[in-house]
Amino acid sequence: MTSSTQTDAQLPVEDTETVVIRFAGDSGDGMQLTGNQFTTTSALAGNDLATLPDYPAEIRAPAGTRAGVSGFQLAFSSKDIHTPGDQPDVLVAMNPAALAVNIDQLKPGGLVIANTSNFGDKDLEKAQLESNPLTDGSLDGFRVIEIDINKRVSEALADSGLSNRDVQRCKNLYTLGLMYWLYSRNPEPTEEWLQVKFGEKKPELAAANIKALRAGYNAGDIHQLFQGRYQVKKCEELEPGTYRNIMGNPALALGLIAGAKLADLKLFLGSYPITPASTILEALASFKNYGVITAQMEDEIAAICSAIGASFAGRLGVTTTSGPGMALKTEAMGLALMTELPLVIVNVQRGGPCTGLPTKTEQADLNQAIFGRNGESPMPVLACSTVADAFECAIEACRIAVEYMTPVILLTDGYIANGSEPWRLPKIDELPKITSKVVKGGHGGNGEAFMPYARDEKGARPWAVPGTPGLAHRIGGLEKAHLTGDVCYDPENHEFMVHARNDKVMAVRETIPTPKVSGPESGDVLVLGWGSTYGAITDACDRVRKQGKQVSQMHMRHLWPLPKGLDEIFARFERVLVPEINMGQLARLLRGEYPGVEVHSYGRVKGLPLQAQEITEEILRILEK
């Protein structure tokens, strides 16, 4: 908060560096839309940002109850930020349940904007509140702004001719308008978006929503609810380039298409809807003009099997799912592994085990990814660390699958899937080239038998696609004879093939970089993470350094095989701290692979992203040991 300027309305505008807002309401209140619009507008204003949608698994739990509360947290900043923030500065609560569920996370002294229309006795009862928090003193220590939003919207749209129900559906836009005013945001991008969304088909709805948005915006000036306004300036720390705002699952979908294109292949997605992976299937279904085929199959098993079939026939097969779906696909993964066909398996992790917490995030499927199959079944595993990284990791997964003729597991999670951030777009010519193992034929006629299981120097076999002259051959889940691929029960051959498959997967190490250490190259503590905890760990390390203490950080993309050079890095540190949203799965893997290294596990399994603050405290605790 450095300077103040005056607006037309003569209210001071204060500069502020980072703001965290949480919008919360009934799952039917349009909070996700409100949050997404604020995000887009902030992105266009040049802020760095990060978002965290938090919604119930039920589509519409009973209105007004705590179970039905849907939230959207957004951090926007003039600085480079890595997380949507531990604690919101502002809580917008559309009803008492939304207030009750979220108030504990609000920063001390934070701002509550409460829609008073929904604070009657019945509303309080539904929210399981014995007294009204607006009057019982429980909000002491917060700044509370009370607005009867329902009434204001009704007044603003009195002449709209819409039913009361439709009028009330505009209240999220009113709220958004008010927040735009408070943070000096231009409402025009949202107005344009509403025009496109309702467009010519429902012009009256477009007009009403725009009117509600403007009414909310103007309310800031007219009703003198606030002493001042804020502005968050453009972030100057973003690297130069062209940006767009994107969510994790769409970014991953684009990466899959790009990966296939870079390998000169066409993508086939076999999938089955499952939270929080479905939006990858939805995204890919809309990219048919990139030659993408998407098949929504009858179950998780059919989904992966169709992808395996497509890979056999020369497309790049992909299947997308979440934990329970991974469990179902297990046997088929073994088929892809045994037949040595390229396949990308995306697991958008959620809280487990079993059905678990469908809309919450977790990193507890790492063991399943690395070890969860019958027999000796090594498979490359990698994980995305940020929304933008999902794009790159998808390309990398395609590269490994295609160049090594192997199924590859790509782990992401609910936090990355639904979170959004500005994405610096890669230059097309900087994307990697991928060389597939497709054999064009030529074995016909010269008497030389085709060897479907002959291997190249990396250990990869040729990819002979049905329809190719002279290469007719049979593959299957039974053990293969070396070279010919015929069914073979010979004990020596089995052992040979088990090693051949493993050597091939381990050879992936030759083409993956050793992860970079940020901070000192040696020292007391190396904080080592994987997946979506990247932002929180980065923030935590910054906070520790601000206290004058030294800490180093390293983040893993490739989890199997582990990259080369880790032993040398670990040797330079007293201990390695591994924060994970599980009970210590990577920590256990590292202890097994690097027995001499002192590995501390910091595992939390709440279905929530790790917070920078808790990691900071853990680093400080370890440093004092």
């Binding site: 887009t40 992105a43 266009l44 690297e239 130069p240 380039g241 062209t242 940006y243 767009r244 705002n245 684009l254 298409i257 790009a258 294109k261 870079l262 066409k266 086939f268 076999g270 990219f287 048919k288 003009n289 990139y290 030659g291 085929i293 098949a295 199959m297 009858e298 098993i301 059919a302 099997c305 169709s306 395996i308 079939g309 497509a310 890979s311 056999f312 026939a313 020369g314 097969g317 046997e331 088929a332 073994g334 088929l335 037949t339 610096r424 777009l425 097309i428 016909g444 049905p466 329809g467 002259p469 002279g470 007719a472 051959h473 049979r474 593959i475 299957g476 889940g477 015929d486 069914v487």
Partner: protein
Amino acid sequence: MAEKTLTKKDFKPDQDVKWCPGCGDYAILNAVQAACADLGYDRDNVVFVSGIGCSSRFPYYMNTYGFHTIHGRAPAVATGVIAANPDLAMWIVTGDGDALSIGGNHLAHILRRNPNVNILLFNNEIYGLTKGQYSPTSPEGTRTKTSPMGSVDHPFNPLSFALGCNATFVARTVDTHMKHMATILKAAAAHEGTSFVEIYQNCVIFNDGAFDEHTDKKVRDERTIDLEPGQPMIYGKERDKGLKVDGFQVVRCAPEEASIWDPTVQSAAPAFQMSTLDHDPEMPNPLGIFRAVKSETFDRAINDQVDAAVEKKGDGTLEDLIYTGELWEVS
């Protein structure tokens, strides 16, 4: 490879066939190899996909592309294969356990989607490869090691199942009836869409003679009827018996009163009716073509959508893919 016409021998690979001596599968393999030659197939364009079980070893015995997949999942794998390349001649080989027990779900869904594949279901009413347990088509009361007092499960009728899924081509033939099998295989191959063929297949080890009641040469003419498209439903060694449709019933009648069999009617009801005659001791068990109707195929439809999207929006480039939406520059 396509210049010379291939013979049955060209479809035999150098692998030893490892079914039990006397198994009905040998006859089917022979018939399929012959059909491939008769159909003028280019073997590089043919794919056999199977699941798990005795019948599912079939792809290893065909000198074409082949994929021996996992238990019950051949229809799902095949759906991916044919979607990726609709120009292939695609055959699925499966058994009663593979298709109707562990793979029941996938069978139902491939039939409703109607991709251009031919499904051969070898029905021997028993689990062979696991050594003789009752299957989902074993008659109630079948005594096996897992049902020592007789099975209590009601069996599936494979054809009723397929017709219930709105299968567009449904037929039945018998492993011992080579000529009939050849006709049915070629009709199945000619059908655009999913062709479902149940083949009564004798398991000499665990369920020998399961179909003798209908298919033994001594009784076959009297106890079966061949449903020939456009022909009156007449059977018997002397061609002296007929069937006619009477309301919602099929009844026996004099040959001159026999109804004309038409598998191309849109409704699956008449075919379903015929499929239920298999255990009626008073009636002949129908073989032949139960249903053959035209319907859009999954593989063509899904590829047509891609073509339509390309035509409408242009062939997407990496630049189009990434540099789209609301962009802004940071300098």
